[in-house]
């Protein structure tokens, strides 16, 4: 085993620096705005030097960041020794981190714009303990060959450890040739566009645009404009309508572009019991999930997509995905429901993907919307009272509330298939949650006084996912059904004891 020490690519100093700078932008902008740009023009004034202090601080911090970025790169070293990946950095305070190869769950890759230019990658080393979404070790920028070398060394070492464990088996080291990999799913451009069009991130973009527009509102002399427009009030309507339409179109376009960049070339591979997902146009990301770390599979259909027969498939995984912000890993961002079955069956042969659901009983129907009245009643009463004649219109809110409740009632259900529990429910989007018994962390039934009277109850399962875990809930099922699920989950039956 060579103990050669490797360094990161020099560009990682720049990346460290830029990353630090990014985090600084917000406080600095706040500082500047609070100061109100009141830089004095000549040094004759008393507080000229005083007004320079923020700028000076900013400059100092920037230089500090630059130096610390360079130092981190200069001192950063990684090497392989005694079956461990070892990392060391720091000038005054030396930080060392040794990770045994057999603890390494997966390597995730990310290629930003800087990386793309020099043919580098950022490598994130995931271990079982890095559930918080933070990778154990991040190699900011190394060449692709170096990344490959790490992966090969890790695989070899793992193999050696396995052979050492099973000593009776003859040593066949050369067996680990090229790993078998096959493409499970690849997104087409058409699907990509549909994904962008129907995604909820459109809402985010609209909200963002609204926020920006409201900022500009102060600068636009609305009153004068309206005065002039009042003459052309009939035109005004058309113009307003047109500009709203144009605004919506632009936001839609922005959403499409953002989604397109993020999900460009979305491909799912399977390789040696691991799932590999690559995506991205400008910033390429690559995530590896060992199949045995997957806790549950979730099929989500938002109403619009359900209408056209599309669905999204996500997996709840014990190890973090691309980083802290998305713990839930999207397996298929958009897939036709008809085409869903074959890739899923290929990946998870033990699951039954089309179980027959047991539905809540008829008597449970009102329970799905009655709960809404509790918070609706005060809102309706208040608005009816204070906004008297028009406030009465708020009574109409009851209609959609009841309709959504009925829709939820129609969707809800559960199914048990040997070791697998499937729960289907709806808030707005229809969610089908498939989980194996051995992945369930806790099972809970809830019953309110009113539910008890009608002999119905709600059941909730919890699985591990990221830091907080994930859960699925089937509401207002028949008591016996709840009983059945609890019995199924128990190992020792209390009656036999």
């Amino acid at each position: 085993m060579s103990d050669q020490r490797y360094k990161l690519h020099p560009i990682s100093a720049v990346i460290n620096f830029v990353k630090g700078l990014k985090e600084l932008i917000l406080p600095f902008v706040v500082l500047f705005f609070a100061n109100g740009f009141n830089l004095k023009e000549n040094s004759g004034q008393n507080d000229f030097w005083l007004s320079l202090i923020p700028v000076g601080i900013f400059l100092l911090i920037t230089i500090g960041l630059l130096i610390s970025g360079i130092i981190k790169w200069w001192t950063y070293e990684y090497w392989f020794e005694e079956g461990e990946l070892r990392v060391e950095y720091g000038l005054f305070v030396k930080k060392k981190r040794y990770i045994p190869f057999d603890r390494i769950q997966s390597f995730n890759y990310k290629e930003g714009i800087f990386h793309r230019v020099f043919g580098l990658v950022q490598v994130m080393v995931e271990t079982a303990s890095s559930t918080s979404g933070e990778a154990e070790v991040i190699l900011t920028a190394i060449s692709k060959e170096a990344a490959n070398r790490i992966e090969i060394v890790t695989r070899k070492q793992k193999e050696e450890i396995r052979h050492a464990d099973l000593q009776d088996s003859p040593l066949i080291v050369e067996e680990i040739a090229e790993p078998l990999s096959r493409v499970i799913h690849k997104m087409t451009t058409k699907e990509l566009i549909i994904l962008a069009t129907t995604s909820s991130s459109m809402g985010v973009v609209i909200a963002g645009t609204a926020a920006v527009l409201s900022q500009f509102a102060e600068f636009i002399p609305f009153e004068r404009i309206f005065e002039e427009l009042s003459a052309f009030i009939k035109f005004g309507f058309v113009i307003v309508a047109l500009s709203i339409m144009a605004g919506l179109f632009i936001t839609w376009l922005a959403a499409v572009v953002v989604t397109f960049i993020n999900y460009y070339d979305f491909t799912v591979w399977e390789e040696n019991d691991r799932l590999i997902i690559t995506r991205g146009l400008l910033e390429k990301k690559r995530v590896t999930i060992p199949l045995n770390r997957i806790q549950a599979v979730k099929i989500v259909e938002n109403p619009l997509r359900q209408l056209f027969g599309f669905a999204t498939v996500a997996v709840e995984s014990a190890s973090g995905g691309f980083g802290g912000d998305d713990k839930k890993i999207t397996l298929f961002p958009l897939i036709r429901k008809k085409e869903l079955l074959s890739p899923l069956e290929e990946l998870f042969p033990r699951f039954n993907w089309e179980p027959s659901f047991t539905k809540p009983p008829k008597k449970a129907k009102p329970f799905f919307y009655r709960i809404d009245f509790i918070w609706l009643a005060p809102v309706i009463l208040a608005s009816s009272y204070w906004l008297f004649p028009y406030g009465l219109l708020s009574f109409l809110v009851i209609i959609p509330a009841v309709l959504i409740g009925l829709w939820q009632y129609k969707t809800t259900g559960f199914a048990i298939n040997e070791q697998q529990l499937t729960i289907v429910y709806r808030v707005f989007s229809r969610v089908t949650f498939h989980v194996e018994k051995k992945r369930i962390q806790a099972l809970e039934s809830r019953q309110s006084y009113f539910q008890k009277r009608r002999e119905i109850a709600t059941v909730q399962v919890r699985v591990m996912s990221g830091m907080t875990g994930a859960s699925a809930k089937a509401a207002n099922l028949e008591n016996e059904n709840i009983e059945e699920i609890m019995k199924w989950f128990e190992k020792s039956n209390p009656t036999i004891e």
């Binding site: 806790a442 099972l443 809830r446 019953q447 309110s448 875990g469 609890m486 128990e490 020792s492």
Partner: protein, 159 residues
């Protein structure tokens, strides 16, 4: 219907809950007193006194007498060989099943009030959730903690 679980919280636990309720009422009482004083000072309408008084009575009744009773009646637990079952809740009764295999660690904790009454809380953590059985006699809590940790170690994964 499912069999009623075997163990309840000791009666002392109810006393401690009442004590917590009393402390809560005290805090509300202090707030109400401040509001009443301000009302007197600025000569606000006198119905504010009434509201303050009613609030104290209501909170007192609920948090000293009513809620602890309900809660104590609903609280049941059982630690079996392969799972832990807990029932609790105020208006919504929850029953939770935790398989022994999933238990990662068990802690007991004891604040000053609990210590005075020789009680302790026991909390059971899985990879995704934490469940607390409150107000057990310290000795029982320690024993239970030991038992759960042994059972959890013995429990085998049924893959």
């Amino acid at each position: 219907m499912r069999k009623q679980l075997m163990f309840q919280i000791p009666k002392k636990g109810l006393t401690v809950w009442r004590l917590y309720g009393f402390l809560n009422t005290m805090i509300i009482g202090i707030l109400a007193a401040v509001v009443c004083f301000v009302t007197y000072f600025f000569e606000w309408p006198s119905f504010i006194y009434l509201i303050g008084f009613a609030l104290i009575v209501l909170v007192g009744l609920a948090s000293i007498w009513w809620f602890p009773n309900i809660r104590w009646n609903h609280w049941r637990y059982e630690v079996r060989e392969h799972e832990i079952e807990i029932q609790n809740g105020l208006f919504i009764i929850k029953r939770t099943l935790i398989p022994m295999v999933r238990v990662q660690h068990v802690d007991t904790s004891q604040g000053p009030i609990l210590k005075k009454y020789d009680l302790a809380n026991i909390s059971i953590s899985t990879a995704a959730t934490t469940h607390v059985i409150p107000m057990l006699i310290t000795e029982d809590a320690d024993q239970l903690r030991g038992r759960i940790s042994i059972l959890a170690r013995v429990a085998e994964d049924d893959v």
